[in-house]
Symmetry: C2
Subunit: 342 residues, 2 copies
DNA sequence: CTGTTAGCGCTTTCAG
DNA sequence: CTGAAAGCGCTAACAG
């Protein structure tokens, strides 16, 4: 049974008043007599009135929707960030439309097109590993829609930005490896186009050199993606060489975990022969054996803060706006896949 | 620099024609002369015209938004289902608004309120483990908004439904355990209010009895949630008893994985002393050691099909509608945490 | 082939 | 205190 939604004038007619009176009453305007208000409110409830957001939006040019674009949603990292985002946004009356770029620039551009059409009031985005141009973002900003870039940077694009200090996290991890006696530390890095991956690599390199170790190019590898099979594949190459590393710092937990079966299968022990450190602290990482040492990231906060900053920008959009730049602190979580400090 | 979005009449004015001509031209109406069309299209592009969905929606009472409510989004299961859903919906011009109920009935009800306010054209929902009443769903249906229930059933609620055959998956898993020589098979079941959990339990029970084994109530436990620590906690109780099971069938992979460290720590071997089977086939499950035997579910298809059915209902909503009921087939994936067939 | 008009549901002047 | 009227951007009769 399809019932039309009740409208303002439905209430107005039922009460023999005008639509504007009803509108004002519902907005608790001081211009309306108490009794009128009460009867209006009662009738609204009786008719199960719900204001039509589209009409309101049409009027004040707002959709109360914010767009989110992430590379993917099935992994722990972005799903958790979205979680934080949503928990914040929920209480503001805003809704989230989420799109996945699948690490494809074209899909990302297409999504932005869709979101632009949907007239979102703001955008939160983490770019793909293919994204090198900002034209699509610039177009968004030119039409006055606030944008927050999070986790992965879009260099040269001016906007609010919220990141995790990847450099610091990587530095700590590698520094820790060195302090536990490791010298030949390999790095399984991610796609070099991503700022996160570049930062982690820099952290790795700096930790080495500051500890008097010359980085060995042979030990610096790049995986094409962030899944366990990427780790599995690349570790086979690495372990087939004569000089085997005594530690591995992987770009994330998934890659690290992909290496574990191969390492053990070669008769090597973790951490006695090879220490292993990941990045992200995924929920499962502590359940592997040995449990995985990793760098925890404040992902939930990352999403939450991005949401807070965007909403702030949307609601009190000033003429002159100072873009924010936030850097959240990660934390090394030591478990069994690395040796104890000596 | 905030530029107003171009409107139909902007184009009309620039070309000295009426707004309706522009509208018709843009819709490629046969009533419009080719030259007019061309000039309109050119001008639309020049002004970067984007039709205002809110105005259109206001007119034809559609938002082109469909609401999605899932218990959570950070786990592999629902994230992947949403993935499938989104991949389908993407090409239809519809957008998704996703909400998480966090297994709370109140949050679920509140989300439905929000989605109703947002005037979504349809709803896809997997209810919480607390949901026992359908009043909120009924209200939705009464206002004529198509609903698809997926994965977890809302008994007695009439709508399209898409599930995985949990009974069948569980039966296969337990039958396999028995065929590999296990007799004392424990079940770590999930919240009994969930149809999925009840079906899995029934599959477990039937597999036992059909193989001439009397179920042992001592071996049938219930975990409060779906995380590894739930498994960790409950397995400690179980292994503290004198009669230790020779196999465990867990409600999902996460719970199964939570038990692994405890089992091994007690000096028991998997699968020689205890076979272990999970449910879901999460991405990491094959990387544990031993790798986890599990029941794979067609999650992506689950989401995709739910989307397809909903869109079909929305687009060709007939007067008389036969609700669909789809049951997708899971598949047992045998790995190292269970013994080979004898 | 094209223009005029009305109206989707709501808010907001401007008049009473 | 309340009503009438205009308009957000678009489409769909109804006229030419």
């Amino acid at each position: 049974m399809k019932r039309r939604h009740a409208t303002l004038s439905d209430i107005a007619k039922a009460l023999n008043v005008s639509a504007s009176t009803v509108s004002r009453a519902l907005h608790d305007s001081p211009l309306i007599r108490k009794e009128t208000k009460d009867s209006v409110i009662a009738m609204a409830k009786a008719l199960n009135y719900q204001p039509n957001q589209q009409a309101i939006g049409l009027l004040n040019k707002k959709t109360k929707i914010i767009g989110v674009i992430v590379p993917e949603i099935t992994g722990y990292f972005f799903a958790t960030a979205i979680n934080g985002l949503q928990d914040f946004v929920e209480n503001t009356g805003y809704k989230l439309i989420i799109g996945q770029s699948n690490e494809s620039f074209d899909q990302e551009a297409k999504l932005m097109e869709t979101l632009s059409l949907a007239r979102v009031d703001g955008l939160i985005i983490s770019p793909t590993s293919e994204t090198t141009s900002n034209i699509h973002l610039e177009k968004f900003r030119e039409s006055g829609i606030p944008v927050v870039v999070f986790d992965r940077d879009c260099p040269n694009f001016l906007s609010d930005k919220v990141f995790v200090d990847d450099y610091e996290g990587a530095f700590q991890a590698v520094d820790y490896l060195i302090k536990t006696g490791c010298r030949k530390i390999a790095h399984l890095g991610g796609p070099a186009n991503l700022t996160t991956c570049r930062c982690r690599k820099r952290g790795y390199l700096d930790a080495l050199t500051q500890n008097g170790i010359t980085p060995d190019p042979q030990l610096i590898l790049e995986v094409p993606g962030f899944t366990p099979d990427c780790g599995e594949e690349i570790i086979r190459d690495l372990l087939d060489r004569e000089a085997i590393p005594d530690a591995i710092f992987a770009v994330n937990d998934a890659v690290a975990i992909g290496t574990m079966p191969v390492i053990l299968e070669k008769g090597l022990r973790i951490p006695q022969d090879i220490s292993l450190i990941g990045f992200d602290d995924e929920p499962y990482s502590q359940y592997f054996m040995p449990s995985l040492t990793t760098v925890w990231q404040p992902v939930y906060e990352l999403g939450l803060l991005s949401g807070r900053i965007l909403m702030n920008h949307i609601l009190h959009s000033p003429e002159e706006y100072d873009y924010r730049y936030e850097l959240l602190k990660p934390e090394l979580i030591v478990r069994q896949s690395s040796k104890p400090l000596v």
